[in-house]
């Protein structure tokens, strides 16, 4: 009888437990990594954000003091937040648009595609510090060739990294110069779009823009979403280029009596990750640095969740 063949509840439980253990065993490398390098640091960051802790002496509980200091008295928080959000909105958008544009153009090039692919990809391989220093020298308002050329053409010569109105656009230019990563993934996605769909659209009388809008874009939406989400996360962590550009342009080495201006010029390149470093390692306020890191984490999570939620409707199954 079928009823007699059914395992008894105890045997079923044992089987399920064995399966669970096996699953956990397979997952354990990831679980250990996740626990050690994500969960534990996250828990400890939350813990220290409620502690008075300077990194040297034992931490003591101080309630919400770090949080109120961060939001109400720390002079660089809101400026860092504004700059970071500006970079997320402008830099990410332009990088994705430019990366997609270059990808589209290169997939259409009949001759010399290899050269263009290499030319656009190579800048991405340049180390961020070296690339930023090169840009700072090229865009130096006094001695740089870019402004010299603009002057020769009778065009305005911006202050670039020395002008608070131009420093973030200059950083955006630097980011757009290194779109090799996006170009590659967009090219792969574009080459994957079925040719029959283009042929059908052409037969229906669709022009280039309509083919892009109604054929290309729907097919590559998941890749665009991926580029935007990873771009937002990377930009929330934006540190090296901003601090190197500020240091090179200000010319200040730093030291006693000669402090480096945070976010030179006039705080315009100050970002949230610089704030975490400043609090934790220059002001010895690890507690508030942890609170700031949590804010950064929360904003990144919120952006990612929002983009995935909004983007999921655009992605076809």
């Amino acid at each position: 009888m079928a009823l007699l063949d059914t395992p008894r509840p105890a045997a079923l439980r044992r089987k399920r437990r064995r399966e669970a253990v096996r699953t956990l065993a397979f997952l354990s490398p990831w679980l250990i990594g996740f626990g050690l390098f994500f969960a534990y640091p996250l828990v400890s960051t939350a813990y220290f954000s409620f502690m008075k802790y300077d990194g040297f002496t034992a931490p003591t509980f101080n309630g919400l003091k770090n949080w109120t200091y961060l939001f109400e008295h720390y002079p660089f928080f809101w400026q860092g937040l504004r700059n970071t959000l500006w970079l997320v909105a402008v830099m990410v958008t332009l990088r994705v648009a430019f990366g997609l544009g270059v990808g589209v153009l290169i997939t259409k090039v009949k001759t010399g595609a290899g050269f263009f692919r290499t030319a656009f990809y190579l800048p991405y391989l340049a180390p961020p510090v070296a690339a930023t220093m090169a840009f700072a020298f090229l865009l130096n308002p006094g001695t740089g060739p870019v402004n010299h050329l603009l002057g020769e053409l009778g065009l305005p010569q911006p202050g670039w990294f020395t002008d608070p109105d131009w420093s973030k656009p200059a950083l955006t230019l630097l980011a757009m110069w290194g779109i090799g990563d996006l170009m590659v993934i967009f090219m792969a996605a574009l080459l994957d779009v079925p040719k029959e769909q283009y042929e059908a659209a052409e037969l229906d009388g669709a022009g280039p823009w309509q083919r892009f809008r109604f054929v290309t874009l729907p097919n590559i939406t998941p890749i665009v979403l991926f580029a935007v989400v990873t771009g937002v996360i990377q930009t929330m962590q934006y540190y090296t280029q901003a601090i190197v550009a500020g240091k090179v342009a200000s010319g200040v080495i730093g030291g006693s009596g000669q402090q480096f201006e945070p976010g030179y010029p006039h705080g315009s390149t100050w970002t949230l990750p610089q704030m975490v470093y400043n609090l934790g390692f220059q002001r010895f306020d690890t507690g508030t640095a942890c609170a700031a890191a949590l804010v950064l984490f929360a904003i990144s999570m919120a952006f990612t969740a929002l983009l995935l939620r909004r983007g999921s409707g655009l992605v076809e199954d």
């Binding site: 034992a58 008295h73 006094g142 202050g159 200040v252 030291g255 006693s256 000669q258 402090q259 010895f284």
Partner: protein, 449 residues
């Protein structure tokens, strides 16, 4: 007995949280050292010394001093590790452990307040007392000030930097100026005379007053006013000290007389690296500069196409009697509080900071100002007239420094930011700006305490 599932979950969560907290608290706190390492009784002891020098002449000089020390103390062996950035040694001191350094030096004096108050570096007062060393009679006042914090002398000066005026003698002669200026009034007049316009820039600028003009910072200018930054109660006094407002007003006035902030700023972007032969004073782009004593060596090496000389930087007209003063800072050295070889470590620190021959030899090798009165007066000191200017500034009782603070150089950053806003015209109400900045500084210090 069956525990309800919910209770079991709560227990598990509580156990997990307790374990996490135990883990978190276990990795914090400064390790305690001290104790007798037996080196005084002749026991062999090896200590580790971390420093930041990296140039050949610097490391050779340090190694020579260490060799001389080991001859005097054959049972104390020193493992020297050079080219260590402050960040790295700070991390090592946070972590502690057997590989952490026993003796540490730092190029910045900004962190002394934290190192002393958090007891990261050991208080050297008992060692100084035991060996009969009177710090006030041994080290210049400003140097002693930047190496301690509120009675805790957790470091000692290991050579210093003094700031003075560099001037282009050839340009002075061409402009009919016969002597370096002593007051700000004279300085302004000379700076204007020495300035030659060219197009929308300058052929030669008398002086670059903008705060990003390398060493022309608010703190260095305030050294000429003798500002103290903090009152007796430890609160910022920049809003109530008239010298601070006077300095900001003087700097802005000078910038206006020389063509204004924007024009000067554009000219500044054409300057080469500060620590290179393209330094604007070396190239003749500016005729006067505020700079440290190290520039004497660079100029001797770079051989600019003009004659140059040094003098103390001018002082405000109403403080003419204090002419000869200047801003001072320098390298500091201390003992890790976690070191278990503090007796041996102190012998090394004492030798490097108080042995006249060691201090003079090191100063001669790296062209810094010696950090003891005895060394400043030593006939063995290799000093020409230009370098002697800085020796006199270092000995001047009116010379001053930026005091140690519990949160590093944060108060200097706040004050500098105010300077940037004011010089650029983004801030017009200086009084309100100073009041807000004082509040910002106090809030940051309250947070750090």
């Amino acid at each position: 007995m069956h525990t309800p599932r919910r209770t079991r979950r709560t227990l598990a969560a509580a156990t997990g949280a307790a374990a996490a907290l135990a883990l978190l608290t276990a990795c914090t706190g400064t390790p305690q050292g001290g104790g007798d390492d037996g080196s005084a009784e002749g026991k062999d002891v090896t200590i580790t010394f971390w420093h930041g020098w990296s140039q050949d002449n610097e490391t050779k000089a340090i190694d020579a001093n260490i060799a001389a020390f080991q001859k005097l103390h054959p049972n104390i062996h020193v493992k020297v590790v050079g080219n260590i950035a402050d960040d790295k040694s700070e991390q090592a001191l946070r972590a502690g452990g057997a590989d952490a350094p026993d003796v540490v030096s730092s190029f910045t004096t900004d962190n002394v307040g934290k190192f002393c108050s958090a007891k990261v570096w050991a208080d050297l007062t008992p060692f100084l007392k035991k060996d009969g060393i009177d710090p006030a009679r041994t080290f210049p006042a400003a140097m002693l000030s930047y190496s301690g914090y509120r009675g805790n002398q957790c470091s000692l000066p290991l050579l210093g930097d003094a700031y003075g005026l560099y001037y282009n003698k050839t340009a002075f002669a061409a402009a009919g100026i016969t002597a370096p200026p002593k007051t700000f009034g004279e300085f302004e007049a000379d700076a204007v005379k020495l300035t030659t316009a060219q197009g929308d820039g300058y052929k030669q600028l008398g002086f670059m007053p903008n705060y990003h003009g390398y060493e022309s910072t608010p703190s260095h200018f305030l050294g000429q006013y003798g500002a103290g930054y903090f009152g007796q109660d430890g609160r910022s006094d920049i809003a109530s000290d008239p010298r601070v407002a006077a300095m900001f007003a003087w700097q802005k006035g000078l910038a206006d007389k020389l063509g204004g902030f924007e024009k000067l700023e554009k000219y500044r972007t054409g300057f080469g690296d500060e620590f290179s032969a393209k330094n604007p004073f070396t190239t003749g782009q500016v005729a006067m500069a505020i700079d440290g004593e190290w520039r004497t060596a660079s100029l001797a090496e770079d051989k600019p196409a003009f004659e140059w000389a040094t003098a103390p930087f001018p002082v405000p007209d109403d403080q003419a009697a204090t002419y000869g003063r200047g801003y001072q800072t320098g390298t500091i050295i201390g003992i890790a509080n976690g070191s278990r070889k503090q007796t041996a470590a102190w012998q090394l620190v004492k030798y490097l900071t108080t042995d006249t021959d060691a201090v003079v030899g090191f100063a001669n090798a790296i062209h810094n100002v010696p950090s003891t009165f005895a060394a400043l007066d030593s006939p063995k000191l290799d000093a020409d007239a230009n370098f002697r200017t800085f020796l006199a500034i270092a000995k001047n009782p009116n010379s001053s420094t930026t005091p140690a603070s519990v949160n590093g150089g944060a108060y200097q950053v706040s004050l500098q930011n105010l300077g940037y806003e004011y010089e650029s015209g983004r801030l017009t109400d200086l009084k309100a700006g100073l009041t807000a900045t004082a509040k910002e500084i106090d809030a940051a210090i309250d947070q750090a305490k």
